[in-house]
Assembly symmetry: C2
Homo-oligomer: 262 residues x 2
Amino acid sequence: VKLLSTARDLRRRRARERSRLFVAEGVRAVEELLASPLTLRGAIVTEDLDGTPRGRALRAALASAVMASGADLLTVDDATFQTAAGTESPQGVLAIGTQPERSFASFPAVGPIRIVVLDGVQDPGNAGTIIRSAAALGASGAVSLPGTVDLWSPKVVRSAMGVMFHFAAFAASPPQLLEWSSRTATQLWSADAAGDPVPVAGQLPPRIALVVGNEGAGLSPQIAAHGARSVAIPLAPGVESLNVAVATGILLHALRPAVVGG
Amino acid sequence: VKLLSTARDLRRRRARERSRLFVAEGVRAVEELLASPLTLRGAIVTEDLDGTPRGRALRAALASAVMASGADLLTVDDATFQTAAGTESPQGVLAIGTQPERSFASFPAVGPIRIVVLDGVQDPGNAGTIIRSAAALGASGAVSLPGTVDLWSPKVVRSAMGVMFHFAAFAASPPQLLEWSSRTATQLWSADAAGDPVPVAGQLPPRIALVVGNEGAGLSPQIAAHGARSVAIPLAPGVESLNVAVATGILLHALRPAVVGG
């Protein structure tokens, strides 16, 4: 019962920030949580989970994990489960985990690096997709600035497919970002229709933090004042624009260091 | 009242296919519909639409458009509106339009071309985002094969931001695609982790149809049997993968003809 009320609480950002806990919902995300170094605090399942071999395997893995860690595993009926779940069709399984402590110290201070900075990305699906892309395309991490959706919200966790369980995604302030980028000679680049063409691979600086914002809105004032270098993706004439997660994927691919891209 | 029942009917794919009508929901999509060559068949609004200058302008534009075309404009209360709306937060406005007649004849038969083929893309958000990217990145059209979500579903229309109102997106069968690609010397390319690296711009064929599928699933048998050339996006080691809309954006950008990419 305590697990149920905790899971319900964790639908609110403030509760997640205070407790440093989060909820992973659905088979894929909970599998990723179990495979990650993060601490499992408990899990809630329904009988539905036993409907597939993958679900049965996950329930068995959860049972082992809670036995090893002293966490709780609660089986409830569908209606009760829905009161705790924060997303649609959570497949009869959710788990509560502890948010890891992360900071810019996670990143190597020298050598080629790419990170993504989410500056006012409010849509959880876009934020999760960007984190997933960053991990897949060889970036070292994803940093969220104020104005961005909470990276530990259930919808972000789901759309990132739990990548943040083992990938350095964390929140920071603009001064923290600027101090780190200055100290480690990491250039801030941003996407802007009026920017320069993307340089060819041989002409890229070794260290880039790609700042991506809300579609339509610009960068936050502190970042804009710092003078990020803006690069453009050439678009067809007309009023079309790209979804922010698609634009971020294109730029991460275009800006990847030669050592990653092969 | 006829408009209301029509809008409700059009939430079902079968009703859209039979009537060749569709619903555009939300301010942006309805604006795009009015600016497009498609025929407006009617619109439903609530008083809420008058809450912003943009909404008031849209209501005025709808009033002019229906007067010119003999269509109906219906004002209803919120609760009634919600019974007709197929997506969340449709902003107090929806319009009904006629689906255009389109086919491969829309495309130039000679010269450089890029099109996207959606082969089993079931998520409406991904399908809409892919269509939006195709238009923005200079492709000539987007073709959906069976197994793909209906391109005229309200969710696809919304996530594409109404791009299909003026961009050649349409459904076709595998034989139609194969006949066209063969007749016009258009190569079928697909994304596959085991594929070749993307060639440099100078080594691309002039005509490419990029086939993108359901994440995880392969291409449909008829397309796979035809032997599409597969290209890979280099990914970081590990289990990560890309969202299909992000992967499509990266490949469309990487495969764009020199004339588009500048």
